[in-house]
Symmetry: C2
Subunit: 345 residues, 2 copies
């Protein structure tokens, strides 16, 4: 085996769902867009259905194919991008619930699939998806007669509990939806942690299911083992990797491991990241290449056959910090060359 | 259709191969590792075989499966990571040529597949893959009796023609291989551009095939169209996207487009990147989300249905600069939600 081994703990994803669902006033849906944040939407959706999830969210209608196949015909699959041009057949055939984002989409949906379920997405200040107040006021009565399944919005700053934007969006959401007898949804993982005022009828945890911040007590979900190709002695002053960016300050033992940025190990994280040989942290040395990385294994007692980049000690948020990004991007970048295992580990 | 549309020009990949092959003293192989730098190794390898390529390189043995299926049984597929533990069956069944990197690998290969073709990878200073001088001296005579197909090494600084490392590695490579009657390979794309001294019998262009630097006259290979979900008016002082990082300085029209960092649009490039609506460059505003990006379409005359992130005007190296990385990472990050088309465009 000459590629990495990515172990995805479905039991821990289920445990994270359970914890977030229990914390909610209403019930929790499961966000499985972007291939379940890179972890495999088919496997994750099936596991969460076994855990009792009844509603799933994807970004684009196409993403629902493997999920519908895994879930069977009945559970709800909602589409954040709504009813886009060309989506009608997929929405009908896969029994999807588009979250209608605009009057254009509303007209498209009403004309193409007049009896088909839908939800409404409102914009409460993020200016990203959904109808704004004026649009909503213009079509609200019509929409209510059509019987939407859900009215939702999305928070821009929920990861920062003290940000005034949260209360502002909550206030706007209530102003747009109070008194309507339609189920409501505002919170994703960050919003759940803001407390019950933000929960309404349905929450939409995503990153929290997959072990990432802001859900600090999430169970870790991914372990990544990378095989060692060879180990060499490097003398003082010798360089390792592209452009000679690293030079050995003293004689070192350098392992070349079989993964790189083509596997989603973000190139920018190189200088600040370690891999683990057992308990020993081994710094990455030199530039991360497309398929190869040099690591300093001088302190490891016996030559390791593989090392870990992700484990219970070093999670996606640690890597994200080293790469100057967020755990979400570390997850969605995880590559397709890894052997993937969905066991208990 | 609610996802992006990635168009990959096989004719331009073939033209880039032709140009690089013509520039070489020897002949050019084709590097199709990392799924042909994210563009689809099956399609790319088949197209390059039609262009006359006879030798292909992958990073890991597993990567050869779709390529062998596309190429038929005869063309050469070489594996940079060599003969690793667990690779024997794949190497035999897919008729692969492992580039042996160490004495350990040499023993493994000789024991497991004594009659099976192999090559040798030498380290000439990059300290990444391959045998060093002392190792090589110890096993050279044995290796030569076994009949290697190729002896290769890799340059660490070829993208910088003035770097003294290039000549140093060339000198080391000659010292290790002059006078042996085995075909030799040292240069990838950058090395080809260093001139004929670096070419030897076989070159190994990768990035140059796919339209990236340092092959400045490469034909562009990828075009990426992203559909617009909705367009909204935003007043002065309103913010767009996560954490309110962008605020409208004057009233603007903002389009939300259906792609994000889960599609390999590296989050870090956000503040410096434009998409194109026809000829009009439209800046990205606010943070790139997982599946969505806000763009300022105020200057576009009629509402665009889609915009382009990659095209003949804006290539992978422009995006790489905005993201603080290299074009290679932009390519290998290209996502799997896009509809992919291999037409003439």
């Amino acid at each position: 085996m000459s590629t990495g081994y990515l172990s995805i703990s479905l039991p821990n994803i289920r445990a994270n769902f359970r914890a977030l669902n229990t914390a909610c006033q209403g019930r929790a849906a499961a966000v499985v867009k972007a291939d379940a944040y890179g972890l495999g939407s088919k496997q994750v959706a099936a596991a969460l259905a076994r855990e009792g999830a009844k509603t799933f969210f994807v970004a684009a209608a196409e993403e629902a194919r493997p999920i519908r196949a895994a879930l069977g015909p009945d559970l709800e699959i909602c589409v954040f991008s709504g009813h886009m041009e060309g989506d009608t057949d997929l929405i009908r055939d896969l029994n999807l619930i588009p979250m209608i984002n605009s009057v254009d989409q509303l007209i498209r949906h009403a004309e193409a699939l007049p009896q088909h379920p839908f939800g409404i997405q409102l914009d409460t200040g993020m200016n990203r998806l959904g109808m704004e107040m004026s649009e909503w006021q213009a079509v609200r009565d019509l929409v209510l007669r059509m019987g939407p399944r859900l009215i939702m919005s999305h928070l821009a700053c929920a990861d920062d509990p003290d940000h005034p934007m949260n209360e502002k969006q909550l206030h706007e959401f209530r102003a747009m939806t109070d008194g309507l007898s339609v189920p409501r949804s505002l919170a994703a993982t960050g919003g759940i942690l803001l407390g019950p005022d933000y929960h309404f009828d349905l929450t939409r945890p995503g990153i929290g299911l997959y072990g990432g911040l802001p859900f600090a007590s999430a169970k870790p979900v991914v372990t990544l083992d990378i095989p060692v190709i060879q180990i060499r002695e490097v003398d003082t002053g010798e360089s390792v990797g592209y452009s000679n960016t690293w030079m050995a300050p003293t004689p070192r033992r350098i392992a070349t491991i079989a993964a790189g940025y083509a596997d989603g190990i973000i190139r920018a994280m190189g200088p600040k990241t370690r891999v683990f040989a057992g308990d020993v942290g081994c710094p990455i040395v030199g530039r991360i290449s497309m398929d190869l990385i040099g690591v300093d294994v001088t302190l490891v007692k016996s030559d390791p056959k593989s090392v870990q980049l992700l484990n219970g000690t070093q999670g996606v948020d640690t890597l994200a910090e080293a790469a100057g990004t967020i755990g979400y991007e570390v997850l969605t970048s995880l590559g397709h060359r890894y052997q993937r295992n969905y066991g208990l580990r």
